[in-house]
């Protein structure tokens, strides 16, 4: 299994931090409040290890969005939020509209797709800008599920071939903490393409 060097991990975290910063800025416009997102921590792991991180999370049921990105490297990107937190985000997005719980749930899929779309596009555009490449994204898909179904559903996961770049981010909206994960499922070739771009970037900056 490929391992990240200390500088690669640091650089990836910082590039995603820039993406997360852009996402927070966009989300704050959507919810009309300040949104604080912590600098992400990054782990490279196998799908089953990512699953156990999610199983170890506070909640078992998740609301998640997935979007396929293709270009210089291909990945399935998935922001994952505990279900109860997702509903809270949706409530803030609905704002002044006084919706019933039923209406909120109906609105949830659409709202979480939008939130996921904002977060992912901010992260991917940060990567694309820094690496000067183009990444094309599919439409975001929303679904609910538990830790296992989130990672494996609909993905051609071959244990020897797939890795997960796992970002853990804390988001604070109106003083409330929302603990989220962003998973990037890649095959080994895409991961080495991504690391190739990263190494080129570090070299261009005179850092490697």
């Amino acid at each position: 299994m490929i391992k990240l060097t200390e500088l690669q991990r640091d650089a990836l975290a910082e590039i995603f931090n820039i993406g997360v910063g852009r996402a927070a800025s966009s989300l704050s416009l959507v919810v009309g409040e300040e949104v604080v997102m912590s600098a992400p921590t990054i782990t490279l792991c196998r799908p089953e290890e990512a699953e156990s991180v999610l199983i170890g999370a506070e909640f078992r049921q998740f609301s998640m969005v997935s979007q396929e990105f293709s270009g210089s490297f291909d990945s399935r990107a998935m922001p994952v939020f505990p279900e109860s937190n997702a509903l809270e985000i949706v409530r803030l997005m609905a704002g002044a509209a006084n919706l019933s719980l039923e209406e909120l749930s109906e609105f949830e899929q659409e709202a979480m797709s939008e939130v996921g779309n904002i977060i992912l596009n901010a992260c991917m555009s940060a990567l694309a800008d820094m690496f000067r490449v183009e990444l094309e994204g599919s439409l975001p898909m929303h679904r609910f599920g538990d830790s296992k179904s989130i990672i494996f559903q609909g993905a051609a996961v071959d244990d020897d071939e797939s890795v997960v770049l796992l970002l853990q981010v804390d988001m604070y909206i109106s003083q409330r903490r929302v603990h989220g994960h962003i998973l990037f499922l890649l095959n080994v070739r895409s991961l080495s393409n991504l690391l190739g771009l990263l190494d080129r970037y570090l070299k261009e900056q005179g850092l490697a």
């Binding site: 200390e6 640091d10 910082e14 910063g21 927070a24 600098a39 005179g206």
Partner: protein, 121 residues
């Protein structure tokens, strides 16, 4: 402007290296020191009394905004720039209210040149 000292505060090694390289190029006679967290920054400020501080915002432990506030309180002469990916209006306004410069990440040479000009202005 010789013999100035700048403290670069960032939990990301890449960011510290980038800022250091750009400052060294633009102001070769400045002394450059680094801190890896808000707490580390407070200790280094007390110890080294830098003229300028480049401060990241999102860091583990005490955040950059709080660290900058504490430095302002105890060392009002030190000029501080927030150098951050957190580009929300509220942060930019908070920076302006507290007399801090604001530099957007990603770090660029133009951004660092502006920060230096603001420090020297």
């Amino acid at each position: 402007m010789p013999n100035k000292t700048i403290l670069i505060v960032d939990d990301s090694r890449m960011s510290r290296m980038l800022i250091r390289a750009m400052v060294a190029q633009l102001r070769p006679d400045w002394t450059i020191v680094e801190a890896v967290s808000g707490d580390d920054a407070l200790a280094k400020v007390d110890e080294l009394k830098p003229d300028f501080v480049s401060m990241d915002v999102n860091m583990p432990g005490i955040g950059g905004m709080e660290a900058a506030g504490r430095i302002r309180m105890h060392h009002p002469a030190i000029r501080i720039a927030l150098c951050t990916a957190n580009i929300q209006e509220s942060i930019q306004q908070g920076a302006a209210r507290n007399g801090l410069y604001f530099v957007k990440k990603p770090i660029t040479e133009a951004g660092i040149a502006e920060m230096i000009a603001a420090f020297e202005g």
